[in-house]
Homo-oligomer: 732 residues x 2
Amino acid sequence: MRLDRRFVLVALLCATLLAQAPPRMPAEGSERAIEEQFLSVPDPRQAEQHMKILTAEPHVAGSPGDRKTAEYVARKFREWGFDTEIVEYKVWMNYPAEVSVDAFTPAGAIMHGPTKEHVEDDPFQDDPRVVMPFNAYSPSGDVEAEVVYANYGRPEDFQKLTEMGVDVRGKIVLVRYGENFRGVKAYMAQETGAAAVLIYSDPMEDGYFRGDVYPKGPWRPDTGVQRGTIEYGFEHPGDPTTPGWPSTAEARRISPRDSPDVPKIPATPLSYRDTSPILQRLGGAESPREWQGALPFTYHVGPGPVRVKLHLKQDFGYRAIWDVIARVRGTRWPDEWVIAGVHRDAWVYGAVDPISGATAMLEAARGIGHLLQSGWRPKRTIIFASWDAEEQGLIGSTEWLEQHEKELESAAAYFNLDTGASGADFRASAVPSLRGFLRDIAKSVPSPKGGTLYDAWRTAVRRENSPTANPTAEPQIGTLGSGSDFTSFLDHSGVPATDIRSSGNYGVYHSVFDNFAWYKKFGDTNFLYTQEIARVYGLQVLRMADADVLPYNYEAYGKEVAGYLDAAQKSAAGQFGDKAPKFDSALAAARRFAQAGAAINALVAHAPSRVRDETRSVAPPLSLAGFERQGGDVERLNRILLATERALLLPNGLPRRPWFRHAIYAPADLKGYSASTIPGVNEAIQRNDAATTAQQLEALTGVLNRAAALLEGFHPASSELFVLRAVPTGLR
Amino acid sequence: MRLDRRFVLVALLCATLLAQAPPRMPAEGSERAIEEQFLSVPDPRQAEQHMKILTAEPHVAGSPGDRKTAEYVARKFREWGFDTEIVEYKVWMNYPAEVSVDAFTPAGAIMHGPTKEHVEDDPFQDDPRVVMPFNAYSPSGDVEAEVVYANYGRPEDFQKLTEMGVDVRGKIVLVRYGENFRGVKAYMAQETGAAAVLIYSDPMEDGYFRGDVYPKGPWRPDTGVQRGTIEYGFEHPGDPTTPGWPSTAEARRISPRDSPDVPKIPATPLSYRDTSPILQRLGGAESPREWQGALPFTYHVGPGPVRVKLHLKQDFGYRAIWDVIARVRGTRWPDEWVIAGVHRDAWVYGAVDPISGATAMLEAARGIGHLLQSGWRPKRTIIFASWDAEEQGLIGSTEWLEQHEKELESAAAYFNLDTGASGADFRASAVPSLRGFLRDIAKSVPSPKGGTLYDAWRTAVRRENSPTANPTAEPQIGTLGSGSDFTSFLDHSGVPATDIRSSGNYGVYHSVFDNFAWYKKFGDTNFLYTQEIARVYGLQVLRMADADVLPYNYEAYGKEVAGYLDAAQKSAAGQFGDKAPKFDSALAAARRFAQAGAAINALVAHAPSRVRDETRSVAPPLSLAGFERQGGDVERLNRILLATERALLLPNGLPRRPWFRHAIYAPADLKGYSASTIPGVNEAIQRNDAATTAQQLEALTGVLNRAAALLEGFHPASSELFVLRAVPTGLR
């Protein structure tokens, strides 16, 4: 696609004059009234009611309790006017049947576990339906072996053990939670020849070292255990027997034994109460001092003399799970789905994870429903999704996505929630194209602290950083890693995504104590931050659904990618020296992408505005009608904007894990939850593979040039005239 | 004193050409042979023998065991040919008579302490002569009150308690050791109105969090207690009843009650075993998270509900202490004393502190004695000093110094040792004028790790810093703070000083476990690092005693002070804004001092050399005789160099504590052991006192200009000619 020089020149002039103005999607008079109407709906008392009902009983994926929550959510969606269905998938999952962990030294037994999760006073802990602590997708097994302590179970931790002369082959590896995804711990132990894995919660990470423990405070008590999946989701998320396709009734299945996503050695989680006697009696060398946790003795690495006898019997089988999908069809662009998803299944009660998020989604949906009842209809199709079996491996979202891959090619956005509100600190992650969109929304939502959420967010970020931090700096928005349902949407299908939460001292993650009693004492006790999250969440949906021009900022995206490339270039120089591949073409492509994005920003910032932004003294913006009258082809522009996001997918996916196709983001390979940026390039550098680095740089360059060319291809007939008129009078 | 322009110009030319060559004091052929002879003497087996004898029984200052060690040291000095005397002072000191600490909550008693220091297996712990843990100079007292936890007891910790609304008045303040001098903890508690102080050793500082505890490892076991003085030595060190004059038989005494150096509220140290039940049951708010230590519960600040009943009965009185002073008179400059001192008294056995240092001194003295036996005599007087009652407050060294103030005006240097060798890591502190001297000596001493100590030291420093650190960087030498016997020499009398040690995992500081059994397992087990320290220590004495020109580098000193001024200027700008006093004159004076120092360096670097430095391709240096033949007046130069050090003393001393007279260094005011640099200025800034800051800047400017003028005043008759000849041929 060739570039029209005049268009570029004018657009660049405009872009320069307006600096980095992000695309603005403010509402016109009536739109503002609609937003106000929406914002008035989410309600703390209603939220509390939803949470009380949804956390009334344990509801692990596939259980009767889970089914009940699906029905409650579906009933509510229908009540509020959405077309709602409960979508069932049969997926391969396990529940624990028998778990025992016995530790002994040559002198005799020292621990018979696991100890039941129990504190002095908690009304929920004794329900017989509580699933005992386990790791999803651990195989059954009986192992007896000496124990080796391996810190966080990161690649560098196993490397350190090798340097220390400690052989983990045939041993039971004891690792602490933290720093990475627990599946990486299991994978590393498996790859280094360990016989089994015990994963415990050190009080330094989320126990007494952090603060008072439950029920006195919010942190993990000594018997508290973190359940969790160890599915190798960095290979594929979802049902491990349908890697890459949906688990529909007629679906082909591979044998779980052949699935690359299923661990081969047994693993089970432990409390620090049960771990302490094991770790205290480990012999061998002192652990490196940075491996020391907060238990009251010096940590050694072993092996032995402590031996553990591990007995795990897992109840594997195909189980029904239930996504609840609610939708309202868009009037103008029904194929451009705006999807808002939160999972509903919990390891036990899941007051924070995920019911605080599910509750916020319900209140957002109720707000949209309110608008529907008054006759309003969205321009794009809105879908609220209550996912199931997220905890086992993002299964509900991934199977649904795999069933709707074709339709998702034109999805406008995926908005995620998970742990909705566990405290007062707003946090967000998003693709660079949606960061400005999210910040703008924060300016429209009031904070329980007073003022707007945007102000409170920026103040908090400034307080956390040094006092000398730039007081006008924008609040930071992180990169999307993995560990929640946005993963497949972004990393497989290229749907631009955001993820928000309101954080606190959440020390009972994945334990029986993440329940309504904890939440009322230490979470969002009066549901004001749930209300805030519901408002932000719903406003994202509302603005995205009704935006005349899709609010994607590709200038920001291109600049962000250029930053990733700069960092990778330094890594490559360090790794390969003179033999480092050249980054020039990739950097040029990133800059071209940013420049093309800036040209579009300059157009749309002043064209299709529907509400005056009183904070900017610009000439009255043209209406959408005006834009179109002057030759602005909104349909075409939106199609290009959508295609640009998809242009960031690698045609062949990532090396070694082709299901992950996004060129800019992927779940970190062996590092866990945090995002890997420009993963093809960075992972090749980390593997010291210069040839693949060069090849991935080339692929990335292609992707960026393709995206840039798409944007450059937008060339409305009278754009020059239009753009000149859109330049603010004050600047002419 | 006016400056001769020609001298300055030529000297500066030379200085520029030679960059920053420090004064070099290498030995001529015969001198090198003498050094080699000296270095061959210090011996690991002999060192072990000294230590065994000196740690055979407890020997706290003033005890019969202490007297025995004085006699052993004196006998050895005499054996080796030194004029030796045991100098007695009667000083005000306390031993503990009765100590009890009982803790209880409303529900009943929770701790009856202190628990005796005891581990499973230690041959020394049960000696009845072991002094029970106490804080020297704590008054007697009976206090019962609620407990408040105050972290390290720093000014900012008490400030934080105030912000939290916790009133410490009338309370028993519990603080942990670390971060500052324990006397500061007591002082701050007293000043804020607390009734008493408990100071405990948190396992995060030197217990199991750091590594295995004694007897399995070198770190502090649960019953281990850190004894120590809380004398307000930042007011004056030494006998508190003779502040500023020696405690001779006929000395005037002030009442201890009137002494500014004696704390007014009771204090006693505790083990973490005894502290744990108290701290675990404290109520009130959670402590700030950075106040959390390594005990296995969340630390709260109180007050109460735990109450402590503290009973302290101290046995105060005038007690005899014994310095052992050994000397050999100098042949050419007998009044320019070169003093090497180490204390000998210990809280209990003191294998590391101070006997590893005393042992190294003995081996250094034996080496010098060896030279004496072969007929060699030093040019300057050498004094080896074995101080007493250092632990109570640097008493032996301070009283002796106060008795010899006049003679010390011409002392050439004071070389300190304290904890001689507790491991393999060489560490040094020194005045800037002696840093090059010390680094040069490290080049002449072999390391047990192979190569020279200088190489090993530099490699270790590089390893500790980032891998990208400059590989040719000099090893760092610290500033002299307080906490050992160099304090009075430097800070009161202006004698340039160094302090060296070989460090390790020394976790049993000031406890009964700092004994020969610990040392043989975890200290310098084969005494090779004691040998290394003895060699460095003795070589300092030897080179300083025989140097024709005193090896002081004032260029380095001036630059260092300019650096302190730069930092202080930034603090002042932060504190006072526009009203900050001007630093220009002081900075100019520091630069003038450095420049005058550079001129002298350029002269002496090429004049009185006695051994060729093969690493530099310069013209053959002139001999001392040549220097003198050409009009270089060595006597005058040395007098000026000595006077320059004394010129750094403030005529009126520091504000608020005039006994401390050094303009550049003082013990940190309320911060403890670490040095306060340009203390008059920096402490006035910290106190937010702009007027005093300006006045102290003026005083400092005067000091620096006076020092510079002294150096500039050295003007040998034919110096121009001499200097030009001394310029390396390659550079002409």
